[in-house]
Chain length 384, copies 2
Amino acid sequence: MLKQYLLTPGPTPVPERIMLAMARPIVHHRMPAFTAIFNEAAEGLKWLFQTSQPVLQLAGSGTLAMEAAVVNTMKRGDKALCVVGGKFGERWRNICKAFGIEFVELTVEWGKAIDPQAVKAALDADSKITAVFSQANESSTGVRHPVEEIAKLTASRDGVINVVDGVSAVGAFDLPMDRAGFDILITGSQKALMLPPGQAYIALSDKAWKRTESADLPRFYGDLKRERKAQSGGETAWTPAVSLTVGLVEALRMLKEEGLEQIFARHDKLARATRASMEALGCKLFAPGAPSPTVTSVWGPEGIDTGKIVKHLRDKYGVSITGGQDAVKGKILRVAHLGYFGTFDILTSVTALEMSLADLGVPVKLGAGTAAAQAVLAAGPPSK
Amino acid sequence: MLKQYLLTPGPTPVPERIMLAMARPIVHHRMPAFTAIFNEAAEGLKWLFQTSQPVLQLAGSGTLAMEAAVVNTMKRGDKALCVVGGKFGERWRNICKAFGIEFVELTVEWGKAIDPQAVKAALDADSKITAVFSQANESSTGVRHPVEEIAKLTASRDGVINVVDGVSAVGAFDLPMDRAGFDILITGSQKALMLPPGQAYIALSDKAWKRTESADLPRFYGDLKRERKAQSGGETAWTPAVSLTVGLVEALRMLKEEGLEQIFARHDKLARATRASMEALGCKLFAPGAPSPTVTSVWGPEGIDTGKIVKHLRDKYGVSITGGQDAVKGKILRVAHLGYFGTFDILTSVTALEMSLADLGVPVKLGAGTAAAQAVLAAGPPSK
């Protein structure tokens, strides 16, 4: 038996409490028993998004919610400004392209965060731009983008909304929708919410809701006005992913028990410990200027394909972490600390990585990364 | 404790085996462990659809697959022929409308099946029609439509495909995709496949795949060509509903153990038993000419709102069956026999209905419907 440790930035580990909740007998989505479950989930999502707006539950993955953000707020002739500094930034651009929306691509080097001044300049330069699409956390590169700064730029522009893909971010670090002024905020079930994938969540500000009135792109399954109407009555327009909604209630209870501040502090501490350990191991941070609170990306040791390291970790030790994709395939490693992660998940990743590097002939001192992580993890008061 | 019996035509009961499979630790959708699971599910779906074509797995409900059928095969200027004889027929029309596809609505009275001659006449009358959209089973009315006859009509027309919504049908009665010549066949997870809702499945014939080349409606999340490419490599384009795929493997194993012929025979027997019991109770069949093998619809007793009966069954006995929707709201009852249903699920529905009718003052002889069902259910050899 090779015990398996799934330590990736999504799907993230699912707590036993949630798995058992989801294994309960199925309920019917048009009956009162479901409405009670649905409404508890809906209230919890508002708490998590820190918004007074309804947070809609969609049956599908995060990409469905991204598409919904575009087709429900854009009209033909509008132009989009897409922040592209990784795989998920590219997705905004690709969705706009698929729906015939002209776009300006604001390219940022992989591993770097967008400079808000570049967004400002792009907005100033082109009055046809009606929306800025970005990621709160670009998980393909381990970068946190300053979406709060972008929101400030669009707040003063009547005709421009900001759309934040918070898939690997909401519920892991502070993204207070109403206070920050995000016009659209999105997340998925399989990240900080600790559920299996298959459900996406999306909230719109008043400014964004107003845009749905003039939006003229075709939509049906992802029609948010229709969903808002149905969901205000405690059900969904189309058949929902019932077992995920049941699990969502349990997940939100767990998160409420921990409290938002504590959740954010936990992610921050695990992130700091991971970064310290990687540097102690001689792996340079890939995104030192804007490291993600949910996934730490590092350059692999020279002369070795990181895909080989990932495979070795999985095959010899049963530990699943992730490598790079596309432009940084084979070049970086990504160590997750997102969702149901605690102290010893980080130490599992770090100790497994140390042993794997040693196995593969990389000069590494066993325990060096571990000690650096431990120093961070042991600091502060014991958790309650 | 009021023990609950969910006996609706979707979600249908989920077997314990499947619930437990889905409660297993989550696997990552871009790793080899998932590919093995995914490929087993994909092979099993081909067996269930009786096709050599790939059956694509989508994260979303049946409506997503219906939308995908439209946007991947139609182009601007095309006309659709929609068979509309219930809530799901209306959905085809509404999707076409949302995407700006002109349509001819072939209305059929609720409770009646479409006459293939009417389809032929409509096709003959309008050469702009390029697709016929219908339901194999219109679950809102409990009607089985002759989709095999429609497929024969489109087979001889090069420019016309037939699209079959088999959501409450595939895996319950015989719909051999390749042999019957269906160009698109769709189903969802929460029906005959005995899973929670949240996943949809869709297969296309060569003729339909060819249409995806010229189709010009915008699509991204539901882009089937992209999915086919990804899924031929053992993964999905977007994050899949992983736990449902895991459950799907278990469901398909159960269905294979039973065998297609036996599955169809079981549904047929349960349907016949249900019809016999309803008639014995004095409830007239709503769709006597083309009764559905998966849900039996009957007129309620005179002078009583069937919604009241459904509520009484649920509140007093914990038994959930369904009433009518929209045009037949309050007028009909729908008794399901779809998916994980056996002899005593039917007898639960029937005995509960008898008691409820008596409670509500409807003249009914306790046991009369039961005896009629028993006579059918006891016939034939004992099951293996």
